[in-house]
Symmetry: C2
Subunit: 325 residues, 2 copies
């Protein structure tokens, strides 16, 4: 008999809710909504609760089951979190503070609910059903508005002493480097997050780099984004290629750090930037080869995620299931 689990992925831009077969598989039904439209902390539970009921209704109907076949809900959300209490302590991008999201959603739906960090969920999704299947030591790196990550050792997610393990975006890779929005200097995120790729590209254009970037952005410097860089790259723009190569090298230094410290068999890179394919991965792997221990580097596969858009939802659902075992 089939059963299902709900995955909820709350990101800075979108909320995605999906119904996932407990045996593993792509969502059988899915809902999207802009995070900004969730409203205040009090309204969030109502909105997300409705999305959950919708994916259950649609997915279960298609699957020929009933609501009783839904075993629970896994939520992924930005942190920091108090995992024991299921509370979002301070998600400043969302304006949430001390928000007992797990128990509020459990009450609203009557379903058992678990909560974890969004980047941990994406990492777990790739481990469970994506590019990291079968890994023993896996590191996930999520590239987006920020850079996050997750660490899995022998089938267990590493949470650390206060549930904030995996914050790979704030590794210092350049001691006196670019200012990061976290307040420090030289964090990986200060170079290789989406907004910072765009910022570096804009700086070059402003300094007179020859490029179609400005044209693609309708002549408005501020409209150059990481996606513009990717589009220019596809059209053969040399400067965009240079920005992407530099991004790859910097990411390579960050990944090399993780390879040296954890000696993983797989590093999965997740996020829109991975669409740049070998333009990103070839120089990234070459930088890791240069910077990491040879014994560690040569056993490590560095691969893009297999589950664009859904790694977070699938992983949130999978982590719920892993807690039940």
């Amino acid at each position: 008999m089939s059963s299902w689990v709900v995955g909820v992925d709350i990101g800075g831009t979108n909320v995605v809710v999906g119904l996932i077969p407990t045996a593993g598989g792509h969502p059988v039904s899915i809902r999207n909504r802009a995070t900004a439209s969730l409203g205040s902390q009090d309204e969030v539970v109502g909105h997300v609760g409705r999305m959950i009921e919708e994916v259950i209704e649609q997915g279960v109907a298609n699957g020929g089951g009933s609501r009783a076949d839904v075993v629970g809900i896994g939520i992924g959300t930005p942190g920091p979190l108090d995992l024991d209490r299921g509370v979002v302590l301070d998600a400043f991008n969302l304006g949430w503070r001390d928000f007992p999201l797990r128990d509020r959603l459990a009450e609203a739906t009557g379903l058992a609910t678990s909560l974890d960090n969004d980047a941990n969920c994406a990492t777990w999704g790739e481990y469970w059903l994506g590019a990291g299947r079968g890994a023993r030591t896996l590191v996930g790196v999520t590239l987006g508005t920020g850079i996050g990550g997750g660490v899995i050792l022998d089938g267990r997610l590493v949470h650390g002493a206060s549930a904030s393990a995996g914050e790979v975006g704030h590794m210092t890779i350049d001691f006196t480097g670019r200012r990061c929005k976290c307040g420090n200097y030289g964090c990986l995120e200060a170079y290789a997050s989406g907004p910072n790729i765009a910022a570096r590209a804009r700086e070059g254009v402003e300094a007179g780099a020859e490029s179609i970037l400005l044209e693609l952005a309708g002549g408005e410097l501020e409209r150059i984004t990481a996606v513009t860089v990717y589009e220019a790259l596809l059209q053969g723009d040399t400067y965009a290629l240079e920005v992407m190569t530099e991004t790859a090298k910097i990411l390579g230094a960050g990944v090399a750090n993780l390879v040296n410290v954890l000696n993983p068999d797989v590093v999965v890179i997740v996020g829109g930037v991975t669409r740049a394919g070998e333009h990103l991965f070839a120089p990234l792997r070459s930088e890791v080869r240069r910077r990491a221990f040879r014994t560690a580097e040569r056993v490590c596969r560095i691969v893009p995620g297999d589950l664009p858009e859904t790694a977070g939802v699938i992983g949130a659902a999978g982590l719920f299931l892993s807690h039940q075992r």
Copy 2:
């Protein structure tokens, strides 16, 4: 009834062999020897084997037991290693290649033997009997001729996919920084290992820094070592303090990376440099506070090791015991 385990710590400078009570405790007998005096790979087993018999004889006699009460031998040695086969693959500082040290020592002594990385052993020693007792997530950082480390999660040493996890000294913390002897640029080790602390101090003196360093080194620039920096510091030398503070900040960036990625409850710093005490630890902790996630940093104790000189021997012995469980 008492029983004992032998710990063998093979470092770049010294070999230390000690007899440790299996219940935990300081060595009841100990031998030291210059690593350089071990001779060729073939002679090593004879020399170390004799040191083992000596510590057993002396220690067991004092303890009122017999040789039959010695349960085995744990060895710590520089890597890379093949843990399954107990082979030192390539310890270039020692001139060893494909050296089946574990089985050769087991044959020579008739005792069960285990092998692990030297920095892992020092970390395990501090975890078992030193400053890291009771930690759930512990990172050890060993400062010496090189910088190594070890990671312990929930009572288990993390080895990674090819037994080279914990190489924290080759984290990039300055993307375009100082050349490291590993061939790359900006590794933590390129700034904060003993020889590199000395090199930075010499560079400053050469550039005209006012300091007693040159005087302490008998007027010979090349004789300034990390110990000279420490001695000058004790005598109130402002420039030596500056070198130590810079060392601490750079180490702080490295430790902050580990805190962000692993969220440990304890980071133990091991090695001679820790004698600088608060001159090292105050600016180091302050840099971690600046660079690491607040939720991770505030639950993390950053402490010097408790077992100067013996962490490696005790840890090698302890790791042997942990394999038997």
